[in-house]
């Protein structure tokens, strides 16, 4: 029993032990160079997480699509079609990279890079396990939202740079949609911030040791999921790339690996948003002690991602005026109501407890 417990403790702190070992290689474990090395390692880990997540999620998405429409999905390459994504990625690398003659060259080329950079920056503040946040910022949640708001600019750049009227329309739609849904998304997170009195994601996870915030903030969680799906431009909110209306929106003119970067960026953003949802509402790495914290964390992210895919293949696309109506007249008032109720709740709790 004792050895089993020790083994579990070692597994739970595996990455912390490795980190301490790498720091121990330096003469002064807390020097600038040791910190810099740890930061670089953290950065590499985040990039690896994004690429791996994209590889796994693309296959998972196609399998879920098959499951919802009662067909097998990709099943030819490798066991049960598990190597399909690798073949697709190789195909994308082999394709010709076309830049349209009328495109705004520089803007056209920067846009996919920007989209791919944003999940790398946002995932850096997520605590993947106990003490496993690559960058432990005090402004965690706020930093996350601020960074993801930049992707609006990237979509607009892609739409404008392509010099194609459908791309531009798609880019305009992206901006209208993302700027609108940012507000309920931010407001839904405020309830949790009010309870924990902190923007720090590590502190928020620690506060959920007894009860995850989905129980205390069910309304905020629903708003977060809806607004999050709209922020990611995924169906049923995929007006940005509605193929019957605007071909493929901002992505129409992109080919080969540049288009692949958009795809990677989309799945990276999806992972980042799911990680935020799992951290803030589902308790992050907290969980019954028979599994290490990071395993719990990735399982929760997986549940979140699966839910988003399930919704994507279940609901038809929403109309654009309904979209705006939903954001401004339904979600925003509900989010403000949630803030009010949370404030009242905190006040009553303090009153009853004699604080």
């Amino acid at each position: 029993m004792e050895t089993l417990y020790n083994l579990f403790e070692t597994l739970n702190n595996l990455f912390l032990i490795i980190a301490a070992f790498i720091r121990g290689l330096f003469a002064d474990p807390q020097s600038v160079w040791a910190n810099l090395t740890m930061d670089v390692i953290g950065f590499i880990i985040v990039v690896v997480i994004i690429v791996l997540a994209a590889l796994i999620l693309i296959l998972l998405e196609r399998k879920v699509a098959g499951w919802t429409s009662q067909r097998p999905g990709p099943n030819r390459l490798g066991p049960r079609g598990w190597f399909q994504t690798i073949a697709d990625a190789l195909k994308l690398i082999g394709k010709e990279d076309v830049t349209p003659a009328g495109a705004d060259k520089l803007i056209f080329k920067i846009a996919p890079m920007m989209i791919f950079c944003i999940p790398m920056m946002t995932l850096a503040v997520i605590p993947f396990g106990k003490g496993l946040a690559p960058a432990n910022l005090d402004l965690g949640i706020f930093y996350f939202v601020a960074m993801s708001s930049i992707s609006t600019v990237a979509f607009l750049m892609a739409g404008w740079g392509s010099n194609n009227k459908y791309s531009l329309l798609g880019g305009m739609r992206a901006v209208a949609q993302m700027v609108s849904y940012e507000i309920p998304l931010l407001f839904s997170l405020l309830g949790v911030v009010m309870i924990t009195q902190s923007f720090n994601l590590g502190v928020i996870v620690e506060a959920q040791a007894t009860i995850p915030f989905i129980v205390l903030q069910p309304l905020a969680f629903v708003i977060f999921v809806i607004a999050g799906m709209a922020e990611l431009n995924r169906a049923p909110f995929d007006l940005v790339e509605a193929d019957q209306e605007v071909v493929a929106g901002p992505f129409t003119e992109y080919t080969g690996l540049r288009w692949g970067l958009f795809f990677l960026g989309e799945y990276g953003n999806m992972t980042a948003l799911s990680a935020l949802g799992a951290t803030v509402f589902l308790g992050g790495w907290q969980g019954p002690a028979f599994l290490p914290g990071y395993v719990w964390f990735f399982m929760k992210v997986g549940v979140f991602v699966f839910f988003m895919m399930w919704a994507r293949w279940t609901f038809p696309r929403i109309r654009i005026d309904h979209l705006m109506h939903l954001a401004w007249k339904v979600l925003l008032p509900l989010a403000i109501l949630n803030i009010l109720l949370t404030g009242l709740g905190i006040y009553i709790y303090g009153f009853v407890m004699g604080g």
Binding site: D104, I107, A146, I150, V153, L168
Partner: protein, 167 residues
């Protein structure tokens, strides 16, 4: 270390601002504006004002710059490549800019509260300190700004909707 970072991002911000005034294509100007805002956000971080930096990115880069691009696209006439012809009277513009800068510098230098501190500021600037100040010492300006923004919002809705003409 922070001096190097300061110079990299200060030069970036100024170069982007230069791009805003000199580029021929007005959409490029708007994107340069976003870059300039982002450069300024990093300077805020170097001054230990992380909250302000995040707000700068969220509001200015993520929303204001995009809205500028939007407004430009909706009001555009003719060829985009020549949409921002270099103004002939740049001398007057430079004069105005220099005098505004001199005025602000004068105010900052004469007001003891706004001078650069002898020792670097370490505490403060976080979300908690900001909100305490906003809801106590600066309550009235904060509320006045909120009312002003609400009025602007209502005005925009009325303008967009159109007023019914009286019979």
């Amino acid at each position: 270390m922070s001096t190097i970072v300061f110079f990299i991002f200060a030069i970036l911000a100024i170069a982007a601002a230069w791009g805003v005034v000199t580029s021929k294509n007005i959409v490029h100007s708007a994107f340069y504006l976003a870059l300039s805002f982002a450069g300024v956000a990093v300077l805020y971080i170097l001054m230990n004002a992380d909250f302000l930096a995040a707000v700068q990115l969220l509001i200015y880069t993520g929303a204001v710059a995009v809205m500028v691009v939007f407004a430009v696209m909706l009001t555009l006439r003719g060829d985009v490549r020549e949409s921002n012809p270099e103004n002939r009277s740049w001398f007057v513009g430079a004069l105005v800019a220099v005098s505004v800068f001199a005025m602000i510098a004068l105010v900052v230098l004469t007001n003891a509260d706004w001078r650069v501190l002898a020792t670097p500021w370490t505490g403060g600037g976080s979300a908690e300190d900001m909100s305490l100040l906003l809801l106590s010492q600066f309550m009235i300006p904060f509320e006045a700004a909120a009312v002003l923004l609400t009025v602007a919002l209502i005005g925009a809705v009325i303008l967009a909707k159109g007023v019914k003409e009286s019979k």
